[in-house]
């Protein structure tokens, strides 16, 4: 049995951190996007503590199937066990720390380190070494030197998350009522979802929070930033969000979901009428499964980020992780998600559509990239970094009489989710343990 990582060093929060966020007044400082010391605190207090998305169950159906990914900057292996469960190990040999798996995905009986031939089975146990006799002569206890296992692994509707922190709340508690909204994409049909195609990887010279916050609740940018892309794909402008009769921003524990109830606004930008048709075809069965309200969300103008760095767009069906690679560098991992039960040609159209729009050469993705890079780069200036940035839209829009779960705010053109995201980030950086993280949720924890 590989030993589970039990303790994390926690340093005190930075002096001067107080000045970087004032969310009650809708202000953040540009500094949070370009500061090495803040970044190092993030790796320790956000990425080594929170639940992070690591895989979709469909990527590793059989014993020994694995993918490699990162949790923050820590490289990990996610592997299916004989028991049917999933384990996540550090991708580092416990002898000299060498990387033990170099492939992005595959199926194996185990991993053998290139350096001294330490060999680990699917369960992470150390089963052999080159010249194993000399270890035996040193009274070496093989059972103590397996691959290091992360503290907790759990899944929600096929999405596998892991955390390094044994003190972390359960995944269910962590996601809270946002899970209820996630079902609109991940549980709208019997059989659930699967990823199609591989992982698309690209690099940006931007801070990871800019991207995560864009998906947590910034539909505002779409009508302006993506105007030309929408005209190319749709032959017309992006839907005018302020014209929607009903739309919401909902958040919880720093996660945020913003959505309209127009069913197909997001999927329309893929320019594939067969996908609009598919969503209209399944809508009655979704209504039966999830109720009328969520059946309107399956491909609507919407986006979501699960704190800190897991995001998706219903309709475009792009799923992504914004991997931190320094304060001003981010690696983006992107996948395409589809209903398992969807016809093959529908799955293929989604894969193609997502590539045309939200991949490194996709027309929407390119629109965002430059903006995000310059939001980061301007903060290189020591004076500019001190500049207050406005995050104050919709300060008084909390809905207190709604039946919807979560902290619910009226309208999508609203920075309530962005504020909640930065507030949670700020709270994590100021907390030495999970018990110190303040609970700022005011809404219902569950759907009625």
């Amino acid at each position: 049995m590989g030993n589970i990582i039990k303790t994390l060093d926690v340093t005190d929060s930075l002096t001067g951190l107080k000045d970087v966020c004032d969310l009650e007044n809708g202000r953040i400082a540009g500094k949070i996007f370009y500061d090495q010391a803040i970044y190092e605190q993030e790796l320790e207090k956000v990425f080594a503590r929170c639940w992070l998305f690591v895989a979709h169950e469909s990527q590793i159906p059989n014993t020994g199937d694995y993918i490699t990914t990162t949790m923050g900057e820590d490289e990990v292996i996610v592997i299916r066990q004989k028991s049917g469960g999933i384990k996540v190990f550090l991708n580092a040999c416990p002898h000299r720390g060498n990387k033990v798996c170099f492939a992005e995905s595959g199926s194996t009986r185990g991993f053998i380190c290139n350096y001294h031939g330490w060999s680990f089975n699917v369960e992470g146990n150390l089963v052999g070494q080159h010249e194993s006799g000399v270890y035996e002569d040193s009274n070496f206890d093989k059972s103590k030197w397996g691959l290091k296992e992360v503290a907790k692994v759990d899944s929600y509707k096929g999405l596998v998350f892991a955390t390094f922190d044994p003190e972390a709340p359960t995944l269910k508690e962590y996601l809270g009522p946002i899970a209820w909204y996630m079902d609109a994409l991940f549980d709208n049909q019997e059989g659930g979802t699967e990823f199609v195609g591989g992982c698309i990887r690209s690099t940006y010279e931007c801070n990871w929070k800019i991207a995560a916050e864009n998906f947590v609740g910034d539909i505002l940018h779409a009508g302006w930033t993506h105007d030309s892309a929408a005209r190319a794909m749709l032959g017309g402008a992006v839907a005018k969000v302020s014209d929607f009769e009903e739309s919401y921003s909902v958040n919880w524990n720093g996660h945020g979901y913003e959505f309209a109830l127009d069913t197909v606004g997001n999927v329309a930008v893929l320019g594939e009428s067969a996908l609009n048709k598919y969503l209209h075809t399944i809508k009655p069965s979704v209504a039966e499964r999830l109720g009328d309200f969520r059946s309107n969300m399956i491909g609507s103008v919407s986006s979501c980020t699960i704190f800190p760095n897991f995001s998706f767009l219903p309709g475009q069906n792009t799923v992504r992780v914004w991997q931190p690679r320094g304060p001003n560098k981010m690696e983006l991992f992107t996948w395409v998600v589809v209903n398992k039960s969807a016809p093959e040609e529908v799955k293929e159209k989604w894969r193609k559509g997502a590539m045309m729009t939200f991949s490194p050469t996709g027309v929407f993705e390119m629109d965002d990239g430059e903006n995000w890079e310059y939001c980061t780069k301007t903060a290189k200036g020591r004076v500019t970094a001190q500049q207050d940035l406005f995050v104050g839209l919709g300060m008084d829009s909390l809905l207190t009489e709604t039946p919807l779960p979560g902290n619910v705010y009226e309208g999508q053109l609203n920075e309530a989710n962005s504020r909640a995201f930065y507030q949670y980030w700020y709270d994590m950086l100021n907390s030495r343990s999970w018990s110190e993280v303040p609970n700022r949720n005011v809404g219902k924890p569950e759907a009625e």
Binding site: R109, G110, S119, G128, G133
Partner: protein, 115 residues
């Protein structure tokens, strides 16, 4: 002159179907005894590639997979199936007497697996 030694391995009742069992043997080297769908086989237990007990490996059809580097051997013939195993495994004829399984081992020192 060749001498065939008849070495007791275990009882039939001790070896379930598609199982392998390691029998300690200081003289000839440890022996792995297999039950493949009611047919019994015996091979050297020590992998010919590195230090590993094959009895700790997995049986798949008529192959045994080494638990350390996942090389494979064909159980009935001992044939190494590919990298990193290049040397075939020594096999022993098996004899069943009532409930007891025996290996027939040629006691030629040159052929004895080192254990």
């Amino acid at each position: 002159m060749e001498v065939i030694e008849k070495v007791f391995l275990c009882k039939v009742s001790e070896l379930a179907e598609n199982q392998v069992k390691k029998i300690d043997n200081a003289e000839f080297g440890d022996i792995a005894v297999y039950n493949l769908g009611g047919h019994y086989y015996a091979t050297a237990d020590l992998c010919t590639h590195a230090t590993a007990s094959l009895a700790e490996g997995d049986i798949e059809d008529d192959m045994i997979t080494c638990p350390v580097h996942w090389g494979q051997f064909h159980i009935p013939t001992g044939k190494a199936q590919g990298f990193p195993c290049e040397i075939d495994l020594r096999t022993y004829p098996v004899e069943i007497e009532g409930d007891e399984i025996f290996a027939l081992i040629e006691a030629d020192p040159a052929l004895i697996a080192k254990g």
